[in-house]
Subunit: 226 residues, 2 copies
DNA sequence: ACCTGAACACCGTTCAAGT
DNA sequence: ACCTGAACACCGTTCAAGT
């Protein structure tokens, strides 16, 4: 503990799973999913590629642990509930959205049915706000499922989209090009898309994500009032 | 066209992109995503692995084309609209859910911003029902986005979940195990999950997906009535 | 207990050469 | 125009051997 790493480049402390996961998150964030290999990770940690297998059973588990790590950090940053249960749900939803957006590889790696502790805390956080909101016990399971699935599914979708088009001109240029294509569709077959195309440029994905949350909340509270 | 493939095992007709895509879909469905390689695909098509690159630029495009193929087939199977606009939206949503469930690799491969024709038809189908429903033009973009994103995101999530636990005992056993774990959580930290755990076994993912659709629709129509 | 790194059994993709 | 299949530059994972 007190000896400095003097003799060679060999670590004096044993490798830990946390060190491995943090290094993996950093590579994923800065260089993308394709750049994370056991060889680059081992080089970064100054060890052999096989050493990583002592702490992590395989690449899938490594990615799951990395995703849980990011999710935990995101939830830790959610501020106190000033806006009542609905405000709290919005704050949690946005924290997940922003975390998936900043770490575009996370969405594809979080399992819905995990023992990962961050996911359990997320599940509980949404559910407890529904209790505060006064949702009847019989309706709570479906309301909770809709919110949790919407948040994870749509945030993942959004991040995946950003990842796919990364480095392909900027967002506004892509939206403008998409709008132009939609406006050239057959007027018989695609009246709606031709109309909605005009709203594509300049829209805010984050606000639209939140608008969906609000629609679900409106559906939930409409039932509460009856 | 009329000559039978007589002389050798060499194809007499040229390979087409559609043949390649259909073979890929079949391998993905029956053997899983890991089994689809250019080598197995070439062997199945009695050609060399490089020949596929003449018709398809790379593996990502092949998977995108395969996903679009499945999506097109799913939408073609949606029955006429007897239940009004809300019934039509439910029917489309279920068709997507069932297609993703039956082809668990599809969800991860469908891009939200595609030129893929099936996706455009899906987008239009949802939007046109919102027009029929009388949603005001100003609210239509967000309502459409919430539905489309919920459907794609949650269906993909559900399929991914099934894929991940494929072959790991049956669904009910897994749900029972998950419920047992949730019931053993700390009562201080996880009151909601301890309560909701009881609903896990025996619940129907497809019905719960639909309940979420209904909550969004309730939110949309609540706004329409104002 | 923990680490090393060569070896194994694969991949996607390219490309000179064929028809 | 379309196909062949060897070759290239990688992977994840294993495991005998080390400390």
């Amino acid at each position: 503990m007190t000896d400095k790493p003097s003799r060679t480049e060999r670590r004096s402390e044993a490798l830990t799973k946390e060190q491995i996961v943090e290094a993996a998150v950093d590579i994923l964030d800065t260089q993308g999913e394709a750049a994370l290999t056991f060889r680059t990770l081992a080089a970064r940690l100054a060890t052999g590629s096989g050493a990583i297998y002592w702490h992590v059973s395989n690449k899938d588990h490594l990615l799951a642990a990395a995703a849980d790590h990011v999710m935990a950090r995101a939830l830790a940053g959610v501020t106190g509930d000033d806006g009542g249960p609905q405000g709290a749900i919005r704050a949690i939803a946005l924290a997940v959205f922003d975390a998936f957006d900043a770490h575009s590889w996370v969405g594809a790696r979080l399992s819905l049915a995990p023992d990962q502790s961050a996911m359990l805390r997320f599940f509980e956080a949404i559910g407890s706000q529904l209790q505060r909101l006064g949702v009847a016990a019989a309706a709570r399971f479906d309301a909770w499922s809709a919110l949790v699935n919407y948040i994870l599914g749509v945030a993942a979708q959004n991040a995946d989209n950003a990842r796919r088009h990364h480095g392909e001109a900027d967002r506004e240029t892509l939206l403008a090009a998409m709008a132009a294509r939609w406006q050239q569709l057959d007027p018989e077959g695609y009246p709606f898309l031709r109309e909605v195309a005009a709203h594509l440029p300049g829209h805010d994905d984050r606000e639209q994500f939140l608008a969906g949350i609000d629609l679900i909340l409106a559906g939930i509270t409409a039932a509460v009032r009856e």
